[in-house]
Amino acid sequence: MKKEMPTGGVIVDPGSTVRNKTGDWRTFKPVWDKEKCKQCMICWQFCPDDSIPLDENGKRVETDLDFCKGCGICAKECPFGAIKMVREEK
């Protein structure tokens, strides 16, 4: 059954990408070790998906797994081995 579409595939409500949970694409997920983390913010700088949220004090908290695609850049860049990539269990 053909769906009604906006002409030319135009998106009229901005910011609609927040509804597209790209976390589904992940094969490996980053596991963050709070004890080893020095809050140097290198992972936050490198994350291409802005999936490392900060708290009100500017400290990183748990990775946002709704949008993290599991690229592993944070684990590769972390100088303290505080992030490990583990296979996603679904």
């Binding site: 053909k2 579409m5 002409t7 030319g8 595939g9 998106i11």
Partner: protein
Amino acid sequence: MVRKVIEASEAVALGVKLSRPAVIPMYPITPQTHIVERLAEYINDGELDTKMLHVESEHSAMSAAVGAQATGVRSFTATASQGLALMNEILFIASGMRLPITMAVANRALAAPINIWNDHSDSFSVRDAGWIQYYVESAQEALDTAIQAFMVAEDHSVLLPAMVCLDGFTLTHVYEPVDIPSQEEVDKVLKPYKAVHAFLDPDNPITQGAIGFPNAFMDLKKDQHDALLNAKNVIKESNWIFAEKFGRGYGDGLVEPYMMEDAEYAVVALGSVCGTIRVVVDELRKKGKKVGMLKIRVFRPFPEEQIVEHTKGLKGLGIIDKEVSFGQEGTVYSEIRSALYDKDLTINGFIAGLGGRDITPDHIRKVFDSLDAEKRTEWLF
């Protein structure tokens, strides 16, 4: 309205000037260059208030036209041959985003070997790019069609880009008397462009050209296909409006029959060669032969119903293709055979005029002489 003897390239440029596009990205290429040269002169002389963009390639010219049109204004560009080939990927983006850009194509052969002369291999190579394709026969038709192309492309039931194809040199560089309508007359038939779905408005932000996932892509393509079919009615309507206001029409807008009413044998062609065919039809008619010509003015959308209608009662039909689908046959021939597959009619295809090879009255006489026996495709050297 004034009547002047002008080059067909200038006729296109005048049609565009009278349509007042806001943006014209330009990149020169033979045999199209005179069109954008004239437009640059109008802008320089203060006769046309348009933003002219000098770009570094045809890929950029079409990209700039897409960008301009996406802000909600009318844009135009022109190209030929290798230039059209370089634009290829952006042609599909223009139609997919439903941007009613209008472009003149001065038909020229595609290399190799390099060749600047006329055939239809360039625009036929983008047959499936989702653009409306007009093929014009005269300088007058070039001017009229430049204006009609905007009328059709921008219609809300269409919203698709349109190509006005005119034969390189054999039409672009030919001088003919042309009736030039006044700005007031054109303003009555072509309203200012008002974007309905694609525009730049910071108070009303939208996203254009976003990704289309498998759950949306196919539905959007069906809409695009239906919109191109919708163009048939609008093409007819704009042709009728011109006939009423200016006293000039081109058949029903999609096809133009010549001496077809009682014809037993007919030739189908596109573009400037139709002038030569008319001469041969007149000559054969004087000898008592019942012959006619069917000019295809619009190749996309394909005027299938009109072809079926006009070929009723014929004994033989010849199709002249100024391009070849290598490994198969002429493309117009293929499509007409498909449209007439269940009709009892001998249909032969003729490949002619490649790379500027002359198509002479003798060639056309030979075509009319060989429509009795089925022989599929023949090359007219």
